[in-house]
């Protein structure tokens, strides 16, 4: 929403937000692995604020966050573009009419922006869920699925089953299950979205 206002340097902010999207996942995972190192920049910032160092990649409680944060950092720009495209298709005349009727910013957001962005929200949610379920590279590069399986996702597990244990049949079956899960999630979202709209 902020990037759709008349804020100065708007285009520069849009470009900056999109930069991580064009970087390869392997490079992103390496950058963040160095950042989350015990003596890396993030722990140095924590120490500067008087907080103890966190074993980001070795602790079972912190490791999931160590792979979630890079995912958000990388994917945010993509969804920003999707939402910006949606926001720009909403005719300004709706907001002008709402202002004349006495609606505030929050009311305009609640009754104009949000309903008209519903298809975009649906699309973004579907894509985000699919991407989230089939995520592989950050876990594989940063933690290898560890510690103690704390970041082992389905895709990493499939890879290990196939290429570390040589169980190709089982890995293929797991892949089919992964497809079924993604399909089920998408259909569920479609049902929820369709019911809301009707």
């Amino acid at each position: 929403l902020a990037l759709n206002t008349g804020v100065p340097f708007r285009n520069a902010f849009r470009v900056i937000n999109f930069v991580p999207v064009v970087i390869s996942w392997a490079i992103v995972a390496i950058i963040w692995k160095i950042l989350f190192h015990h003596q890396g920049l993030i722990n140095q910032v924590l120490v500067a604020f008087g907080i103890d160092r966190i074993a980001w990649l070795q602790s079972t409680s912190a490791a999931p966050w160590a792979v979630i944060i890079p995912s958000i950092w990388k994917e945010l720009g993509f969804y920003t573009v999707i939402f910006l495209a949606g926001l720009q298709t909403i005719p300004r005349i709706f907001y002008e009419a709402a202002r004349i009727d006495g609606a505030g910013t929050l009311q305009a957001f609640r009754f104009i922006t949000l309903p008209l962005l519903r298809p975009i929200l649906f699309f973004a949610t579907i894509i985000a869920v699919i991407e989230g379920v089939k995520v592989f590279i950050p876990q594989f590069v940063m933690t290898g699925g560890g510690p103690s399986g704390a970041t082992k996702v389905i895709a990493v597990s499939i890879y290990e089953t196939a290429f570390a244990f040589g169980r190709m049949g089982r890995a293929a079956a797991m892949s089919v299950l992964l497809f079924a899960i993604v399909l089920a999630l998408t259909l569920m979202q479609n049902l929820v979205y369709g019911r809301d709209r009707s």
Binding site: A2, T5, G6, W32, I34, R92, L116, I120
Partner: protein
């Protein structure tokens, strides 16, 4: 009939810079902070690319290395088949782009002759807000588009 606004035609975008600055000071600060957070890992990567291995995890961290190690850039180019890897990546990128675009243009062409294909080819536009949804130029059958998009048929 409400027509969607043309991108970039916002009157707000054409206001003088200082006026826009006065209108959105907090938003500007918030976006500056957010952009700094987004750029930080990239600047860190750039800084690390000029460091010796022992300097990477130095405490406190140095943003500008004592000595810029240009060899980090020269060695991969000289000692590894970097050009070959780059050519491989280019082949993949060009092939994927051409095949994807040709598939899309085939679907757009096919949609002119079949309503079922039209519905399929129009589905990509279905995530635009329903209020501003208009008939895509490649789609000749509005009812099929509307069914594909999950809304009531629009009148041309």
């Amino acid at each position: 009939v409400i027509r969607p606004q043309q991108p970039g035609a916002s009157p707000r975008a054409q206001r003088p810079f200082l006026r826009r600055l006065r209108e959105h000071p907090l938003l500007l600060v918030a976006l500056l902070l957010q952009s700094a957070l987004v750029l930080l890992p990239l600047v860190y990567m750039l800084s690390t690319s000029f460091k010796l291995p022992v300097e990477v995890f130095e405490v406190p961290m140095r943003w500008i290395p004592r000595e810029l190690r240009i060899e980090n850039y020269v060695e991969p180019l000289q000692q590894r088949p970097f050009v070959r890897w780059f050519i491989n990546s280019t082949i993949v990128a060009v092939s994927v782009t051409i095949l994807n675009l040709s598939r899309r243009s085939w679907r757009a062409t096919a949609s002119r002759s079949s309503p079922i294909r039209a519905a399929t080819s129009c589905s990509a536009s279905s995530w635009r807000p329903s209020s501003s949804r208009s008939r895509p130029s490649s789609c000749r059958c509005s009812s099929w588009c509307a069914i594909s998009a999950g809304s009531t048929p629009t009148r041309a």
